[in-house]
Symmetry: C2
Subunit: 409 residues, 2 copies
Amino acid sequence: MSAHEHAFACPFPVIDDCLQVGGVPLTRLTERVGRTPFYAYDRRLISERVALLRRHLPETVRLHYAIKANPMPALVSYMAGLVDGLDVASAGELRVALDSGMAPAEISFAGPGKREEELRQAIAAGILVNVESFREARVLVRLSEELGLPARVAVRVNPDFELKSSGAKMSGGPKPFGVDAEKVPALLHEIGALGLAFEGFHIFAGSQSLRAEAIVETQVKAYELAVRLAREAPGPVKVLNIGGGFGIPYFPGEQPLELVPIGRNLAALAERLRRDLPAARLVLELGRYLVGEAGIYVCRVIDRKESRGHVFLVTDGGLHHHLSASGNFGQVIRKNYPVVVGNRVRGTRRETVSVVGPLCTPLDLLADRMELAEAHPGDLIVIFQSGAYGLTASPTAFLSHPAPGEVLV
Amino acid sequence: MSAHEHAFACPFPVIDDCLQVGGVPLTRLTERVGRTPFYAYDRRLISERVALLRRHLPETVRLHYAIKANPMPALVSYMAGLVDGLDVASAGELRVALDSGMAPAEISFAGPGKREEELRQAIAAGILVNVESFREARVLVRLSEELGLPARVAVRVNPDFELKSSGAKMSGGPKPFGVDAEKVPALLHEIGALGLAFEGFHIFAGSQSLRAEAIVETQVKAYELAVRLAREAPGPVKVLNIGGGFGIPYFPGEQPLELVPIGRNLAALAERLRRDLPAARLVLELGRYLVGEAGIYVCRVIDRKESRGHVFLVTDGGLHHHLSASGNFGQVIRKNYPVVVGNRVRGTRRETVSVVGPLCTPLDLLADRMELAEAHPGDLIVIFQSGAYGLTASPTAFLSHPAPGEVLV
């Protein structure tokens, strides 16, 4: 495997050189959706991903879905039947979580800047609030009194370590997330004194890591930190959310995450938990890892242009729908996502082309000098690894084009 | 002026240490809007910017506004009374342009991937279409016949030069924008043979340049290229759009663009135009330069957190509303936009803080270690230079927070 090739193993079948999504040929699915561009998510792939995890994880570990990765209501409702809980990051996500039918007891809310209206809605819903500051604890007490309902709280901890080699470091050093580990004992005392219903800890160190050993190391550290902090807690720890951080391979040279060492480590931690914190459930919170590889973005070639020896496929989709694939969402160096011509995956002739969108900016680039089957106007371009942080992480109003479709198949 | 300081001269008055927008104190404006976060654009500053340009430009140069920079309908309607034409990049923008009352004759449409429905709408509206490929010319002919209306066309040229030191290079080398200069004669003959109504050229070389000499050089080259190409045209050139590219200073060390050399050069070009292309109007197409400095983004401090010696102001606004200010929209190195505490601009105590948003990601950073007046929950954070590529260039659905407000004051 060269560092310039995608390690990506396409999870979507190809029949008669046409990609199949949820058992439907892409050309037919496009007619069913009625327009391009659109996002499509495959139920079967989501179920298979959850089943794969369950096989590797000890039975006692509870699996949560972080809605922020993909809040499409139909997808969240489907996911609610597969996982043990949902995690939300706003009142908007909370509404989707509650609509899905997931029990409020199994929904938790994290975020460094929760508005007072959001905290009020969370208390009324009966979900678990991950407290991220002293101020938030005091606001919760006041709102609990106003509503006559006890706020259920866990403490989100900003640990003094980080998830190594992760895509986004969420801890270690000064951070706006959670409360510094060294200040947590004081917060726990305050929570006890204020009479909030304490239920546990949330320790999240980073995201999008492809190194199992880094995740294992972080999970052990998070576990041990929680056990130390539990000594100061006003009550037994019922929930220990050690975050997620499981990455998926996007770019050439990246390899899928190995689950075996992670499963083995979690089995050992689950065993220690039974002695250290016997009332606690260990929670794993995953977003991207559950849905990222189950989704594609589909757009149609509008024009095929040759400019100074280079072929451009100009499509009706672009960065306004899929900012990450364009390489413009916080990436320092632009790399290609895996891309194919969906209705002619292998093709008869291959060529090196760039795929661009309809926007008047050189940023609107979906594939830079990739080898694809020869494509013409009307053909369908597919971007893989698009099930997470796709549609909602994109500036859909940019240049006032229509919003893309979105289907669960 | 140190490279670490903003050269930015605040165009909004400050009275009693409170920023004034459109003559209204920011605190009162916030009550009027009824919520935070919001964008506010100042009519007076937009008018002043247009007047400044008019003073420097020769009378015969026509000034167009590129709606993509800020498509807020009220702003576009206001702008329609100040400029000579509007440029759109989609059917969505076309609707806003027509609603503004601007005469269709003065509206033009550019974009490398115009959909057939969009071209149909453009012909029906009677606006000028900047043709960007041979295929587009043929589609326009067919649609003209179907509609029984002639398509008005100009040719968008991909020149063989670029705008030096610009934020986004739109020309030179292989590009999806327009037709390579060397292929334009063939396209002009085809346009003549097909019977489309030829009106001129659109030559756009780049955007966001702060160097007047680079803009001058590019304008001269675009002019001379157009005069050469005009010899092959099937009719007289009526419109010569030489683009824009005028930048505004965002970051420490950047200086405002000097208009004097640009105005002098355009006067010389306008003089040459009278001899070379006597039927042609010279059009300058500007977006960001007209509105960027007239707009602010306002959010409210929700929490003030100290983490390991560092102060974070956590606000209700963030990258989901203002991606560029967070440094995540195609920027390689993150730099701070100019920021103040709007209701306490100078303050009594100053401190170095970071301003972050409510999202669970370290990317959600609005100001990194800046000196501001000491601020607390309830205070208003203002980000300047936010009138262009703000709201519509942001992933507003990210983490399902409410959309921001938007007002023209």
